[in-house]
């Protein structure tokens, strides 16, 4: 056991921290719409890209730095610590790129990877549907072969960045005669066609991070199938496995910062002396530390044994519930500011409700833990 970083890792952290201090993003556009915010994040990605910091975990042959998983985690901790925005094409960098590296043809890698990295082409993710959330494999969007093209019809939801995206990682049903996991295919769909309509989805914070996609006779060339027809579920799993791998470290740091802010507010108001608040804050501190430890332990297991231990499925669950507890407690500690419309605190309070739903609901995570980690039997339900 050695819970310190190697000299090489520490040097990596120092280099990145130094760079981030000297190269801050432009000021965030005030009251900017989605497009303006996206442009701002695109310019930020360009700056990261020019300095070789857009996707350090990508192999060098694709323009990354070939970072180890530990260095990649350090990267996200520092991105979180510096409170800089995520790159505009975060989904392309974290999900699309690695999925193509695993499943794409040489032509696909050559065509798509460079503009993902530079931020020239933004990617979005078309997985969830109104009737296929946790039960993703039950999705209904259909793709039918027509010559050397596919014609797609259906509806997708929770698609962030759809308005500014060039490509959509789309999973659609190409065969209705086989069990539901087997009839799926993974496509890259061009978003710049009239057959794809984007409608912003207003969420409880009032903003629209996500969208609905209405797809009516959209066309996708056969060359844009990733990983083979009928293999969409496997390819999608690669995408989903990458979903939380790196970002978790940035979220963990963000939680730490928010907790530090709440502790400071408690100190200012003399509430750290109050045993009830002290108890609650110490418990949050302990949870926050155990999230950090479990995240690093998961990574250490991956590096040591090639696969994560049970921690992997626990980190997101614990993080989301802790963030909800913390933001709820902030109402009592920080005070009325948290309930004022438009305050940063109010945003945190409301946004936290999504944490236990997005990227796998807590209920589904518990199922995964019960079935895959503990080996408990699965209840047979009507198909």
């Amino acid at each position: 056991m050695d819970l310190t970083f190697s000299e090489r890792e520490a040097a990596f952290r120092d280099e990145l921290r130094g760079w981030l201090e000297e190269n801050p993003p432009d000021p965030k556009p005030e009251n900017g719409d989605e497009a303006a915010l996206s442009e701002w994040r695109r310019a930020w990605q360009r700056r990261l890209y020019d300095a070789g910091w857009a996707a350090p975990s990508w192999p060098t042959e694709y323009g990354g730095r070939g970072c180890t998983p530990t260095e990649s985690a350090i990267y996200f901790e520092e991105i979180g610590r510096a409170r800089v925005p995520l790159a505009a094409n975060v989904l392309g960098l974290l999900l699309g790129g690695p999925t193509l590296m695993a499943w794409g043809t040489d032509e696909q890698k050559e065509r798509y990877l460079p503009p993902i990295l530079s931020g020239e082409e933004i990617w979005c993710q078309g997985f969830s549907e109104p009737e296929a959330g946790s039960d993703l494999a039950g999705l209904k969007t259909r793709a039918v072969k027509d010559g050397d093209e596919w014609v797609v019809n259906g509806q997708k939801v929770w698609t962030s960045g759809a308005q500014v995206s060039k490509w959509c990682m789309l999973v659609a049903r190409t065969d209705t005669d086989v069990p539901k996991h087997k009839g799926l295919t993974y496509f890259l769909m061009d978003m710049e066609q009239d057959a794809v309509q984007v409608r912003p989805l207003r969420q409880i914070t009032g903003e629209a991070e996500f969208n609905e996609l209405f797809i009516e006779d959209a066309r996708i060339p056969d060359a844009n199938v990733v990983g083979g027809v009928g293999n969409g579920w496997q390819v999608a799993l690669t995408t989903l496995m990458n979903e939380r791998a790196g970002l978790g470290f940035a979220l963990q740091i963000r939680l730490r910062q928010l907790l530090d802010d709440v502790i400071e507010a408690a100190e200012r108001r003399g509430l750290l002396e109050d045993p009830l608040y002290a108890d609650a804050l110490a418990d949050l501190h302990m949870r926050c530390e155990s999230i950090r430890l479990l995240a690093w332990k998961g990574l250490s297991d991956v590096e040591r044994y090639g696969q994560p231990g049970p921690e992997g499925s626990l980190v997101k669950w614990l993080w989301s519930e802790t963030n909800q507890r913390l933001t709820q407690l902030s109402v009592d500690i920080v005070g009325t500011d948290v309930l004022k419309a438009g305050s940063d605190w109010s945003y945190e309070l409301l946004r936290a409700r999504g944490n236990t739903i997005e990227g796998g609901t807590t209920e589904v995570l518990k199922n995964i833990v019960a079935e895959r980690v503990l080996g408990l039997p699965r209840l047979k339900v009507a198909a």
Partner: protein
């Protein structure tokens, strides 16, 4: 960042696991618990293997290994709820090693390290410590009292009255000593106590781990309404929650054990976190184990209750979760004021 054990540590873990699977079977634990006496034969075997001295310096007759190795043994013993006074004995030797003088080390540690003498650690209020685990059979007793430090005494110097707890796998006693009884331990009492907390937390991790394993095995087998009860989410999600709590306790305890050896400056905070997490987990996980076992879990025969009882004692031992969270809040406040000034 590497959370893995070394080959040697793995070997210690494997040996302990194999030995205890054989020598601390549930029926044997039950037999000793019902008779209200320790398993002397097992204790002698552990002593032959040098377990009580695993973390004691070699010059004092120990193996000179660290908190991580001690933690491994505590966890394995906890998971079997073995009826031996291992934990109380190492708590006493830990305090003596960190807070005692060289002369006290030489005089007291070799016998504790070999297991020839047994130890116990009590937290006293005005000279009286209630429910001192291992107190009835201890030869050496360390009493810690808030504001007046720690002192060590022989059993003869204290007034000891058997005071059985709800956990009969280990003896308990009421220990009282006159204000001038025993001799003071004038060194690093806090550092010793933090290491003692790591040992107790490790035992709790073992208790949780076993409670979860027993529960998972049971709910896979037990059928109601034609299906294994573990297929119901009300049951399986409870098991998932048990794992979450166990892993929180395990990760914070591992961190504290590592800090004790490698980064003592962070030990006070890490030990408080570990004891808070492990105490909560111990109570919750073993209570859930009884619930998930249903009626059978409430019976004497099912053996789940030994884990619940051990967890109750350990959770309260050297301060329960709330006590350590209060300490932790103190650390947070101090850190803030250091930051400001």
């Amino acid at each position: 960042m590497d959370f893995g054990l070394t080959d040697d540590q793995r070997e210690i873990q494997r040996t302990a696991r194999e030995l205890l699977a054989e020598r601390a079977r549930p029926e044997r634990v039950r037999e000793h618990a019902e008779a209200g006496r320790s398993d002397e034969q097992l204790w002698r075997e552990l002593c032959e293997l040098g377990w009580p001295g695993i973390a004691v310096a070699e010059r004092h007759g120990g193996q000179g290994l660290g908190s991580i190795e001690l933690s491994i043994l505590c966890e394995e013993l906890g998971s079997t709820v073995a009826a031996v006074p291992f934990l109380p004995s190492v708590l006493a030797s830990t305090l003596i090693e960190h807070a005692g003088s060289p002369e006290q080390h030489e005089r007291l540690l070799p016998a504790l390290a070999s297991g020839e003498s047994k130890g116990a650690l009590g937290v006293a209020v005005e000279g009286v410590a209630e429910l001192v685990v291992g107190g009835s059979e201890a030869d050496v007793i360390v009493l810690v009292e808030e504001d007046s430090g720690a002192r060590v005494m022989s059993a003869a110097q204290a007034e000891i009255g058997a005071s059985p707890s709800i956990d009969p796998t280990r003896s308990c006693a009421r220990v009282s000593a006159p204000a001038d009884g025993g001799e003071p331990l004038e060194g690093e009492v806090a550092a010793g106590m933090d290491r003692a907390l790591v040992a107790v937390s490790s035992e709790l991790v073992g208790v949780c781990d076993r409670a979860l394993k027993m529960t998972v095995a049971y709910v896979k087998e037990r059928r109601q309404f034609g299906v294994p009860v573990g297929s119901y989410q009300a049951v399986s999600h409870r098991c998932a929650q048990m794992l979450l709590e166990t892993e929180q306790a395990r990760s914070t305890t591992a961190y504290a054990a590592w800090a004790a050896d490698a980064d003592p400056e962070r030990l006070a905070e890490a030990a408080a976190m570990a004891k808070a997490a492990a105490s909560d987990a111990g109570r919750e996980v073993t209570a859930s184990a009884i619930q998930a076992h249903g009626g059978i879990g409430f019976t004497w025969e099912a053996d789940v209750h030994w884990l619940y009882k051990r967890a109750q004692l350990d959770a309260a031992l050297l301060g329960a979760a709330k006590h350590h969270r209060a300490r932790l809040a103190g650390v947070l406040a101090e850190r803030l004021s250091a930051h400001v000034s």
